[in-house]
Symmetry: C3
Subunit: 249 residues, 3 copies
């Protein structure tokens, strides 16, 4: 049975993640779930879209991803299913799956039906998780009431193919960008501005290749350009913030 992969900005606090899992298991007891991340860039479907696209190639080949970064929950945006290279992505139709879609060889999109029973603040539990569970059981999007939309509807926001911004800080304070490392020459220097002023970073293969305390950029384990400080925190040591522009020199 397909595996369900969660990618949300819900945090691990509170009952939200557990309730989504119970909603999955009520339908597909043996689906199995993986918490990929619950600290996706909060309220920011754009930054989240680049992060998800970097992570998706490592999902199981038949994964069903429940992606929820959804500041408009309860409003008028539709719920969608995107099929991209054999994997399903279920969540809000706000662009969250746009970069995944754009980098896939084949993509289709369906709009989920409204559900008047759903809690207006928790479509993750009441709409997206049940839809994902049914897809994991092998039902088609049409069989669960979703409506296929044409290729024109697939093209959502007018976002760049790579995002030259800081999109995410991890537990160690490393700063991920929305740039794919294979699009940037190793000889390139990156400029980013923190509270302490401009920082120029040269490339290094990994942390142990630079001195403790030195900033550098490298290709992270998911193929993104990442700014880091050996044995330190790029966020704290350089005063970086999410959304800061990254300039390729």
């Amino acid at each position: 049975m397909a595996r369900i992969v969660f990618f949300t900005d819900f945090g691990l606090d509170g009952p939200y993640v557990g309730q989504m899992k119970m909603a999955v298991e009520a339908i597909a007891r043996d689906a199995g779930t993986v918490d990929l991340m619950h600290d996706a860039p909060r309220f920011d479907p754009r930054a989240s879209s680049y992060l998800l696209a970097a992570l998706a190639p490592r999902f199981p080949w038949n994964a069903v991803c429940v992606g929820v970064v959804d500041p408009g929950v309860g409003g008028t945006r539709s719920g969608v299913i995107v099929a991209a290279d054999g994997r399903f992505f279920v969540g809000p139709g706000n662009g969250l799956f746009e970069i995944v879609r754009r980098r896939s060889k084949t993509a289709r999109m369906w709009v989920l039906p409204q559900n008047a029973e759903a809690a207006p603040s928790f479509h993750g539990r009441d709409i997206f998780a049940p839809a994902a569970a049914r897809l994991a059981l092998g039902l088609s999007p049409e069989e669960i009431g979703a409506r296929l939309v044409g290729p024109g509807a697939l093209v959502l926001p007018d976002w760049p193919d790579d995002l030259a911004e800081l999109i995410y800080f991890d537990h160690y304070g490393n700063a991920m960008t929305g740039l794919r490392a294979d699009q940037i020459a190793r000889s390139a220097r990156l400029k980013v501005t923190g509270t302490g002023g401009d920082v120029i970073c040269d490339w290094a293969r990994t942390f142990s290749a630079v001195d403790p305390g030195a900033p550098f950029w490298y290709e992270n384990s998911n193929g993104l350009v990442e700014i880091a400080v050996n044995s330190g925190s790029a966020r704290d040591d350089l005063g970086l913030s999410r959304g800061a522009e990254v300039e390729v020199l």
Copy 2:
């Protein structure tokens, strides 16, 4: 096999949650566990009791809940099993299951035997998780050595049926109360006092129905009255604290 649902104030840090799971799996390898929440109101069985009662109706019909909010661990309070409408709740006999019990159609309670081998600071791992695993396997409370107590013993603390206080802040800073929303008229206004002074909240259906930055109250996804700020943090923006009284105007 029944599913085991964890509701504790242990936090996700440290080895505690993982050790409780290993204790379950040592007895019931295939039970399966769900982390509902590990940030229940800390050291506060009363606030936790209202939160758990709001969440319990969505548990699997035959769930076994391990509930641990237990400031008196190692002292003289007993461990208990409560059966409420077909579900089991295992944990300290300090009132944590009182509101679940009071809202159930049928309830019974058993007292767990003492266990001199148990670590005095970790009954969750050494008493409650093993008891829950055995119940999940289909053993009865009596078969695991628990003693049925009479209806009089079921009535524990003298708490109100709804609690007009802030009981929990989630990841977004939304403030849950111990009030069931179906007990409050939509026309009611709520008053709560933060560090910035009194705040009066009108009802709205959901976040997107109010302006960014505006406070409001709504029925949250678990049926509780919740105070929130659209695109903001009720806790931080209004200076709210757990335990603050909520007045229904």
Copy 3:
């Protein structure tokens, strides 16, 4: 099938833990994983080694532990497999498994082959998790390409058998030491120095045996000496820091 137990300093934020699990499941779909802890003492294999050794005796008898506290990732340290009393430990060869090894009756160690495909910053996902999954399937270390090394190679760092330091603070602010409680007389008093000055702690059986606000030491649920404050936070109330020396008076 053997159970895989994770012990890392990755934190629960970010995609790292989820990606390690997907790496396990790609090889051993039914292995099952337990998150023991992901907040092991960061960048500190020495402190982590004492904590892991205290936790290991409660692992399933045939567990495979993926242990990753690895400030030197991407550098020249080798990856290793340690077999200790029937359990496997897979991770960096930096001493993380030294105390487990030293307290075991039988121990052997293998060096893992290099893997040029592995992301230099994420051996947990690309080397250790796949190796652990194969061991869980029943393959031997040799069958997965690891090379047995002699007894001399097993002796790694010159660390004491017990560490008289604060090694870890839990969610409640309790301060674990690297001292086994069964090595210390109950009549001993402990001295530790915080920002508020020296603190002298007497032994108590558990929290409820002392007054609220009083500091004490006790044997924690994993057999370590732990300094705590009833209904308080030893870390915050006493101003303690990780690495602080503990003196047995």
